[in-house]
């Protein structure tokens, strides 16, 4: 990509429009290794986390905004591309009737497990086969709130870079490290260092309240309908159970991880490891 390019697109059939639009589709996103994010707030969050879009798409006729000017200047000076286009074309790209005035294309930034530094945070979230991108995004947001180091995705999870996940993360997709791994690789990596693996479970579990959590604590939640495989639960260092006073025997996955993460945070602060 040439440094600091700027151009205007006026045609719906422009191949760039098609390429940008295709990033809403997982297959294309994975092939390109890029994802699309919409809105000045998310893009500013990203910028403040040191992440700039490779391509910035702005609506012609937008309201001027100092944060948008700053974003544009940073993208250009980093050698990125700025595209101006009509709001109808922006709507086509984002798939929304009333798109925000700006969108950006980012390179995906999955981290390998080996690149994670588990010493940077006492809490890590781990999701296994989570299928709902909204749940994934919400977990990222919760992770940011409790000061987690990142989110580790085990087995086949929803795409953390999908539009829904990025939106639900409220910018946390840019603050949290994200790693994807198979279970065996995750366990091998975990056991090479310090780390307590904790799962909410109904089997052989202690009450979650005041359980003996230890940092770095890896909080594992399973698939929305099947939960965790029994062998995964068995591999955990600690199985905890939350009160279930009604008919249901489980919580929403994002809710369960949040209740647990706040409990771990409180316990670790009371008795720092």
């Amino acid at each position: 990509m040439a440094p600091g390019t700027r151009r205007t697109i006026t045609g719906f059939s422009n191949p760039t429009v098609k390429a940008l639009r295709s990033l809403r589709d997982k297959k294309h996103r994975k092939r390109e290794g890029r994802f699309l994010t919409e809105g000045l707030r998310l893009l500013t969050d990203a910028r403040e986390c040191g992440r700039l879009p490779e391509t910035l798409v702005m609506a012609t006729g937008r309201e001027p905004h100092p944060l948008l000017d700053a974003l544009e200047a940073d993208v250009l000076s980093a050698g990125g591309e700025v595209i101006e286009t009509g709001s109808e074309i922006l709507a086509k790209i984002t798939g929304k009737d009333n798109p925000q005035a700006v969108a950006g294309v980012f390179a995906e930034f999955d981290t390998s497990l080996d690149a994670l530094d588990r010493s940077v945070s006492p809490i890590w979230l781990v999701a296994q086969a989570l299928r709902d991108p909204g749940n994934l995004g919400t977990m990222l947001r919760t992770g940011d709130a409790v000061g987690a180091g990142g989110l580790i995705l085990i087995d086949d999870c929803a795409d953390p870079f999908s539009v829904e996940a990025v939106r639900a993360s409220m910018g946390a997709v840019f603050t949290q490290a994200i790693a994807q791994a198979r279970w065996d690789d995750f366990i091998a990596w975990l056991r090479r260092g310090k780390g307590q693996l904790v799962a909410a479970s109904l089997r052989d579990a202690v009450p979650y309240r005041g359980a003996p959590y230890a940092a770095p604590c890896f909080i594992l939640v399973g698939n929305e309908s099947r939960g965790l495989p029994e062998e995964y639960e068995a591999a955990c260092d600690l199985r905890v159970t939350m009160p279930m006073r009604g008919r249901a025997d489980s919580l929403n996955a994002a809710v369960a991880s949040a209740v647990l993460a706040y409990e771990v945070l409180a316990c670790l602060e009371r008795y720092p490891g």
Copy 2:
């Protein structure tokens, strides 16, 4: 409705198909005072909570199932209607490509505030202007888990009887009381009896952990993007704050209510009021 009717529908253009299908739309749902729920699990949850559908729609060629037989028998003996139809028509009604083999139409069962018995539970959830039906359904599910009495919806919330909310509630829409009210009416009702109103807040708040909660405790969360209006927060008996260790200054609404509800549950059990 004639007691125990049973009929078969074979035509896509049958007016009943159109009427059932229209229940996916909020306007029609409100006019009819009925909502559609899909799947044997949800329908069995409802039945076990003493709620039977007025109309049960079953796919011809479905797999037999004892719970489905029990449901059918109960609906018929309660004077309801059983409709059998092809899976393509069921797909048209539910709007899903692979519908489950059964769906039911229930009468909505909003409770008025005055019909709520606040003494039945130490915890109640209150949502103000919550727009996401998934969040509403998740709050119902959490309410069930903590043994809450119900969910009170203030101002213009998403519809708790929408397909998304019912699905996210995992059956809790049938176990939790649901009331809808304007703010002024809610406050007037609340102050006519015992009840502590608690909100997560950044203003004039105490740490949420171990705060002086008192039963019956009403946990209030606000709109996903705007939060609670300042005057609503000011009307609360207790404002609590949760640690925010990252960039974000808030949690997902369903997550915030759950973290708070589990804290209230733990505190009330330790120091029963």
